[in-house]
């Protein structure tokens, strides 16, 4: 029985081998095929100050977008989870409404909205909140706003599913036991939704690392790694360097999630140890 159960991986393997593993292998091979000797591209990626800044920007923007999406998405998911019937359907529909327009168009829209003479600055100037226009575009602020706006639905859906799966008797039990609504949330709802929060954050973070159109339009002076890869591959035709960049991003992502997973396991073990006090 046990031996046969790995057959269940077969569909996934059939999908991932030609469409993910094979291209990655090609890129991996490509990254070692430069004219400057084996591994020279990797040395360059790690040592080149410009490239390191680009990598830092990419991960910084992705992390900020993840945090902002979580802060905005969690309350939205919480409210949606409490809606019933028709209102719940309407709520989900509204969350996905922006998808009817392409990312390019929505990024352009933010460019106009956040421009130096755009409506956002006009309004803020008009009501006297600011004296000079805010520079959204050239410092990454506008980019993070636009990316967060695009990513919020991707974090709302997994959290919403998590919240809906929580037995309504659990917060109710906490209430009967003496917890006010805030403590009910902290003791029951929040911890039980954490696995889904982790899923949502992963989706947002990984997707944010690969954004191309939005940073191209709204990034200003700020370059992210996808722009750099595109430039190397399409304009400078340095495929080995572009490949090495891609591999480095993949490795960094894997390392980050491995650390995250380890810390989760550690905290779970601590939780069990803590309860041992009473044993």
């Amino acid at each position: 029985m046990k031996q046969r159960s790995f057959l269940l991986y077969l569909p996934v393997a059939l999908l991932l081998t030609p469409f993910f593993l094979a291209p990655m292998a090609v890129i991996g091979t490509e990254s070692f095929s430069g004219q400057h000797g084996i591994g020279a591209e990797y040395v360059k990626v790690v040592t080149d100050q410009g490239i390191r800044t680009v990598l830092y920007n990419t991960f910084y923007v992705a992390a900020m977008v993840t945090i902002l999406s979580l802060l905005i998405g969690y309350p939205i998911a919480y409210v949606l989870a409490r809606l019933r019937g028709r209102w719940a359907t309407i709520g989900i529909f509204l969350i996905f409404l922006p998808f009817w327009a392409s990312t390019v168009i929505r990024s352009f829209a933010w460019m106009i909205l956040l421009g130096r003479k755009g409506p956002v600055n006009s309004i803020l100037l008009g009501i006297g909140l600011i004296e000079d226009p805010i520079r959204f575009i050239d410092n990454g602020l506008g980019l993070m706003i636009a990316m967060t706006y695009i990513m919020v639905p991707f974090i709302v859906v997994p959290i919403l599913n998590g919240l809906r799966a929580i037995d309504p008797n659990l917060p109710r039990a906490a209430a009967v036991l003496g917890a006010n609504p805030w403590r009910q949330f902290l003791a029951v709802t929040l911890p039980l939704s954490m696995p889904n929060v982790a899923v949502g954050c992963t989706i947002v973070f990984v997707t944010s690392l690969g954004f191309f159109v939005t940073p191209s339009l709204l990034g200003g002076d700020l370059t992210v790694v996808s722009m750099l890869i595109s430039e190397q591959a399409n304009r400078l035709l340095d495929w080995p360097l572009a490949s090495a960049l891609a591999i480095i991003v993949l490795l960094l992502t894997i390392v980050i999630f491995a650390l995250l997973r380890l810390s989760q396991l550690a905290s779970r073990r601590r939780g069990k140890a803590r309860s041992g006090v009473f044993a």
């Binding site: 037995d167 939780g271 309860s275």
Partner: protein
Amino acid sequence: MLQMVSRSATTAESRAAGGAAVSIHNLCKRYNNFEAVVPTSVEIASGDFFAIIGPSGSGKSTLLGMIAGYIDPSAGRIVVDGRDIVPEPIYRRNIGMVFQNYALFPHLSVAQNVAYPLKIRGVAKDEIAKRVRESLAMVRLEAFASRMPSELSGGQQQRIALARASIYQPSILLMDEPLGALDKNLRDEMQEEIKRFQQELGATVIYVTHDQQEAAFLADRIAIMRDGAMTQIGSPRSLYEQPKSRFVAEFLGEASIFPIKTASARQADQTCRITLEGGTEAVIRTGEDGGPGRFACIRPERITIGPKARGLANSFTGVVRESLYTPGSIRYRVELKDAGCLLKVRALPQHNTEVFETGSSVDIGWSVDDMTILAE
């Protein structure tokens, strides 16, 4: 049995210190045009084990939800030890509750679950540890303190839920079908456990179930609910022996029930002669008016079958239509001659008891005190 008696005797003193008296005044719940609970009033004494039974949709869980505080009553008061708790939010009511699916926090260990209500109340750490140990000892699960709820069986989870609901000495303990998810054997065992637990705590318990046997085993008093109203409240014995309505008679145990066609005037010895549908005549003792439109009811074990039935005030001959030996009793369905009434009969088998076969002709009868009148 002996053990049970001595147990309740030793807990008599602790009971005095225990639970709160609850009085419910005209409590009701309306949803748009639907009355889930009609205005209901009931007094529950301190330390009482009060069961509410009824079919699903009869309003028993709604009533419990209003006492716990997660359902807002449309009107009425719930007075616990002289204080109306309806305006109080759920988390200040200091009520204990055991849910049907236990509602243990899956991400917390057994000890953390049981400690939770004390933690909220700001009890000192050492004190919490001590009381959690005591509480787990009371449900005999000390060894499981660091387990997660998912690692426990249904019965063990139920006992943890009991420990958690009682560790802060709540004024009342509510239980909503707590044994509903357990299998038969475990249910019987847990009934004993709950009874012992309640007696040790001396708590006032309000217990909702749809299982009449469970209610009869556990409760001092039972309320039977139907269509949002308590149709009858009383001890298990009084409900079984003096049901006031056809609904109660049929809900609690078995009964043969017949519409009454005519009734004579009441005699000096409080008896009267009634005619049942089908023409059978019977003499019954009645405090109530046994007039037409009402029902006569007899429990299966009150009917005598065999030669001994001949001398009774109501004596008939009948034909056995069904005969079934079950552990502890012999069950018959007997049709009265010339009347067509079908009676359910239960006889206790002793070593010389004759078992009547299907189709055989038998004497059957009962005394004037065995039949009761149902007002509706």
